[in-house]
């Protein structure tokens, strides 16, 4: 290798090294999220209840949470208006009239009600409820729907065992049906 070529190789090597350094320092390429950063986002709860946190509450405690945080949109005892109805509607799914789809009439799993409320409710202040408050309000809504008893405490063990009325009301879509 001539001296000139060796210099060219060295120069291109330097250029590549500086490009790599630039990429690593560039603010636009980000970095790997830490486990601590991921944890608050990693809150999915499957139908089987895997992922449910500790905590437990009763419908009576849920009534207080509902009155403070939910009633303005979901109405007294979850009757609806101005937003979604949460209670009733059982028996309205068949037929040709608009069905009344509520937690009691439509939702297949109680566990995913917890997931949704914790993730999205109250709408103006999502993720603000404690796990106990979410268990409480889920217990209250299930009780209002007549699915659980007044004394039934909801927690990570009991919630997955709740049998929802429309549990078997779903058929997996495939082409042609």
């Amino acid at each position: 290798m001539s001296m000139r070529n060796a210099l060219l190789v060295a120069a291109s090597g330097l250029a590549m090294a500086s490009a790599v350094a630039f990429a690593a320092e560039s603010p636009n390429f980000g970095r790997v999220a830490t486990p601590e950063e991921i944890a608050p986002w990693d809150i999915s709860i499957g139908p089987d209840g895997v992922g449910l946190p500790s905590g437990s509450e009763t419908p009576k405690q849920g009534e207080a949470v509902f009155a403070a945080k939910c009633v303005a949109c979901h109405g007294e005892k979850g009757a609806g208006k101005p937003n979604d109805q949460l209670v009733g509607g059982q028996g309205t799914l068949p037929g040709d009239k608009p069905p009344v789809k509520t937690v009691g009439s439509f939702w297949p799993y109680a566990t995913t009600v917890f997931d949704y409320v914790r993730r999205a409710m109250p709408h103006n202040e999502s993720k603000s409820l404690t796990n106990d408050e979410v268990y409480a309000v889920v217990a209250y809504i299930l009780n209002l729907n007549g699915i659980t008893a007044d004394v039934d405490t909801m927690d990570a063990r009991t919630l997955p065992k709740v049998k929802m009325p429309n549990r078997d009301g779903f058929v997996t879509f495939s082409r042609g049906n």
Binding site: P98, Y109, Y116, F170, F173
Partner: protein
């Protein structure tokens, strides 16, 4: 199953069961010109144009009818025709100034044909909202006004 997988990606059938995880939008098309709000001004040559799309792949054919589905003619597709993408179709139409009923019907590369409203309701009832993909009908009056109608 999230709330939206339960409430939005489902179709509740007349028997009360709900089809679940209905993720594809099946073949669909709509005429955008003329359409309600675009009043036609006098008889003569017009270009019927619209868009078609399918969650199953590419659009292979769009047919247009000006007589409420009694007769159909094949429209030209404007490239690029891409999978699961809006595809523009065009068809010249000589409007005689009388009442007309315009429809478009898409076919995709899997052979799926956009259904009539009657056929869609027979299969799934009248309560499919997000996944409603039936043929859309525009009625043209002798004044050139365009209205949405069921046919």
């Amino acid at each position: 199953m999230t709330r939206d997988e339960t409430s939005k990606y489902t179709i509740t059938l007349p028997d009360g069961k709900s089809l679940q995880f209905v993720l594809p939008m099946e073949g669909k098309s709509v005429i955008t010109q003329p359409s309600p709000g675009l009043t036609m001004k006098g008889s003569g040559l017009y270009e019927i144009s619209g868009v078609a799309w399918s969650g199953y792949g590419k659009i292979t054919k769009v047919e247009v009818s000006a007589d409420s589905g009694k007769s159909w003619a094949q429209a030209a597709l404007q490239p690029p025709v891409l999978s699961k993408a809006l595809t523009r179709f065009r068809m010249p139409w000589r409007w005689n100034g009388g009442p007309g009923v315009l429809q478009s019907r898409a076919t995709d590369e899997t052979g799926y044909v956009q259904p009539t409203r009657e056929k869609m309701i027979a299969a799934r009832g009248s309560r499919t909202i997000y996944h409603s993909n039936a043929i859309t009908t525009w009625a043209v009056s002798d004044k050139g006004e365009v209205k949405h109608v069921y046919a």
